[in-house]
Symmetry: C2
Subunit: 193 residues, 2 copies
């Protein structure tokens, strides 16, 4: 039981996603995931707290990549450009797992509990980017606004990307969406009353 | 038991919030809320599904007000101005219950489950505003971007407003934050790579 299983984590993730797509998330048990991956339940629980966490195990790593990319942006860059660099890095990570990301999105979208979890992860990412901006000396509310607006763009871009039949890169859709946000906000008169 | 209790709903909300502030949300029971309000548990459950819903009972009404305000904006207004009108209406609703809104925010912020619920309500509001924009003929992704960016602004503005000692109106903070979002996004070069 304690022996090392080659790529157990990745096999469990693939097996879980397959089963969630085939049978639905609610109907799938940890025992079934382990069996599909030809591993034991004990091995499953060495890698994941529960069947939900299989889908969110990559969130911390994704956030670390994004924050590192932000930290690496030259100090002279504007806050929104720094956020854009972070989001493009996150996009590149997801791009490498395009098929997985699309299937995962379908599973998450179909379940209220998973959608909630996804919103929390995005809020955590926004908070992490705002914190990284403040470390660069960006004041409030500019730091929070740039980070929250960036996450808003990322959400919209991601939804477009998973829905698109063609093979555009997510980073490209993120850049385009950010340009569209500028057009949307820049075209306004500055008040409605 | 079935008799009409004057303002039972409001009394239960006030009692619940008092107890959540005094003892913590987790430690408070429905029986205690009902007792504090001098009502029965049965009356509580005629108004709310559980102790969590006491805190979110106003969300649907808030969203309806916001969407109605958006629908009333002249067709010539830009999408972001239409969203701004919706958010200012929501701000006015919260302004009328400033003390309640601040206490509620403290309770929600202290509990992970409640923070999740709040994020879902905000995501639902964003989706409702995007839908209202599409009804006006705004295309995608402009509708989703304007709605999501508006909610990003509202989140940041609300957090500033509850944290401020002075007596500014939430609608004013929302307008100011939207202006700052414009400055943040408008000052960028359009790409980071």
């Amino acid at each position: 039981m304690g022996r090392w299983e080659p790529n157990a984590r990745g096999r469990l993730q693939e097996a879980a996603l397959e089963l969630y797509v085939e049978r639905g998330y609610e109907q799938t048990t940890v025992a079934e995931i382990a069996r599909r991956a030809a591993l034991t339940e004990r091995t499953f629980f060495r890698h994941f707290a529960d069947k939900r966490e299989v889908l969110f195990a990559g969130s911390e790593a994704l956030q670390e990549c994004a924050v590192e990319a932000l930290d690496a942006v030259p100090a002279a860059a504007s806050p929104i450009d720094a956020v854009a660099a972070a989001l493009e890095e996150a996009a590149a990570v997801l791009q490498d797992r395009r098929a997985y990301a699309r299937k995962r999105h379908a599973v998450v979208s179909a379940n209220a509990e998973l959608r909630e979890r996804e919103l929390i992860k995005l809020a955590t990412l926004a908070a992490g980017l705002a914190e990284a901006l403040r470390r660069r000396g960006v004041g409030e509310p500019a730091a929070s606004l740039a980070a929250e607006a960036g996450i808003a763009v990322f959400k919209v871009a991601f939804a477009r990307w998973v829905g698109e039949a063609d093979e555009r890169e997510l980073a490209e859709v993120v850049r385009e969406s950010l340009g569209e946000l500028r057009a949307v906000t820049g075209g306004a008169s500055g008040g409605s009353r």
